[in-house]
């Protein structure tokens, strides 16, 4: 399971291109920076008020220099601190090139559910609704199925949604889908998984892209 998360994060890291400004959600997305090539210049935004955070400092972490999950980070050259109003101003107004968030369910319209499981888990919405609303591209990362085997890529989200029609790509340990005009296109099979596996574990209908390869 730790392995699956790393596989998803590694694949997702390929979506991060030179010059991008990227917001990473907690969970699997937070593993991505480890896989990004040093030659790629990217600025990570953290919604608590930091553009351009770098790795966890090895010595003397600073309680006042943290990411949105409360863990210590560093700041890179060209980075800036700002208040929460400015931070979400960036997010809502489309300045974040790419947001990579964990997901609980995604449907074929790209509707995202990732903040609440009623009666079970109510962590709160945090900044997810605004990232989903404003980011130029939103990639949803998740394990393909729930622990009990039920699919997470669904015809209709049964969990309360975070935002409508916001996901542009889904990456799981089995496959990569693109959402185009409210349709899911299977564009890539992950190593070790067949088209059959994906079909058996995906509730939503999807097209098979001509670019599909394995």
């Amino acid at each position: 399971m730790g392995d699956i998360r790393q596989v998803i994060a590694q694949r997702a890291s390929q979506e991060v291109c030179d010059g991008m400004i990227v917001n990473l959600g907690i969970g699997i997305p937070s593993l991505i920076p480890d896989y990004i090539d040093q030659s790629i210049r990217v600025l990570f935004q953290s919604e608590n008020g930091l553009l351009g955070f770098g790795p966890t400092p090895l010595n003397n972490p600073d309680g006042a220099l943290c990411n949105a999950a409360g863990y210590p980070v560093s700041i890179v050259k060209g980075g800036s601190y700002f208040d929460s109003a400015t931070s979400f101003g960036m997010i809502r107004s489309g300045r974040i090139d790419l947001a990579i968030l964990g997901a609980l369910q995604v449907n074929m319209n790209g509707d995202l559910a990732n903040w609440i499981v009623p009666g079970k888990r109510v962590p709160g919405v945090g900044g997810a609704m605004e990232l989903a609303y404003g980011a130029k591209n939103l990639i949803a990362l998740m394990q393909h199925c729930q622990k009990d085997g039920r699919p997470k890529i669904v015809k209709k989200c049964t969990l309360p949604i975070t935002a409508l029609s916001c996901v542009t790509k889904i990456i799981t340990e089995m496959a990569v889908f693109e959402v185009v005009d409210s349709n899911l296109n299977l564009v890539e099979l992950m190593p070790g998984y067949s088209l059959e596996d994906v079909k058996n574990n995906t509730e939503a209908d999807f097209n098979i892209s001509s670019q599909l390869y394995n």
Binding site: S46, E47, N48, G49, L50, P61, D62, G63, A64, L65, C66, N67, A68, A69, G70, Y71, P72, I75, Y81, F82, D83, S84, A85, S87, F88, G89, I91, R92, I116, V122, P123, G124, V125, G126, G127, A128, M129, E130, Y133, P160, I161, T162, A163, L164
Partner: protein, 229 residues
């Protein structure tokens, strides 16, 4: 109140707190939440407090320390996942929690602080958080109306201030503090270092002292951060 020396002691601050007050607090996961003012709040014995802030902190960090005592009546916030006790209180019906998207909550506090009457947004439309919110139609397009927020008291944590209350913050401990500072009928800043008027560069001031009513010297962070435990 002496506008040109706003430093008071914690006993005085205690006398400002009252049962059923609406209390705005700065900070994000406890980072930027004023530690000594939280202790002062706990010591004051007030109850049925209406809290408004980014999150519920951790049970031993930030506003979480007060929330776990069960003396908050309600909480308007974006996130309580880091404080399981807040979730338990909510599920028991002992704490009324209203969730708001994080940046929308900050903007509501800003709107109240700068004397506006709320704003329209598309964020949250079509979600369960849109329930009970007025929908306003402008040129045939619908938006959610988000109401302004102010508080009886607002508490923030600053790194440095002069005696007029001009505030400077510390890295990501700035977060929503500059907005919260503007939205209190009474705003109290806990400050790490208080200097004379004229000792700050006027360009570096983040919150002009006009928004601040009282200041107390900080006793420093008195909790272990998550990554230290």
């Amino acid at each position: 109140m002496d506008k040109f020396n706003k430093v008071v002691d914690y006993e005085f601050v205690k006398s400002l707190f009252f049962d059923k007050m609406t209390l705005l607090f700065g900070g994000f996961g406890g980072v930027g939440t004023p530690p000594s003012l939280i202790d002062c709040l706990i010591d004051s014995g007030v109850k049925n407090v209406h809290l408004i802030g980014n999150d519920a902190g951790f049970p031993w960090i930030g506003m979480g320390k007060f929330i776990v005592l069960g003396r908050a009546k309600s909480l308007v916030t974006s996130h309580i996942g880091s404080n399981p006790v807040a979730g338990e209180l909510m599920n028991k019906g002992a704490l009324a929690v209203e969730f708001s998207p994080q940046g929308i909550l900050t903007e509501r506090i800003r709107s109240g602080g700068v004397g506006l009457n709320g704003f329209l947004t598309e964020v949250g439309m079509g979600t369960i958080l849109a329930k009970n919110k007025p929908v306003v139609k402008i040129e045939n397009k619908e938006y959610l109306y988000e109401a302004p927020i102010t508080g009886d008291i607002a508490i923030v944590h600053a790194k440095k201030a002069d005696k007029f209350g001009n505030l400077i913050f510390d890295k990501t401990a700035r977060n929503n503090n500059p907005l919260v500072a503007k939205a209190g009928k009474i705003t109290i800043a806990e400050v790490d270092e208080i200097v004379d008027m004229g000792a700050l560069d006027p360009e570096e001031i983040i919150v002009p002292g006009i928004f601040v009513h009282y200041m107390v010297p900080s006793g420093g962070i008195n909790w272990k951060w998550v990554w230290e435990t």
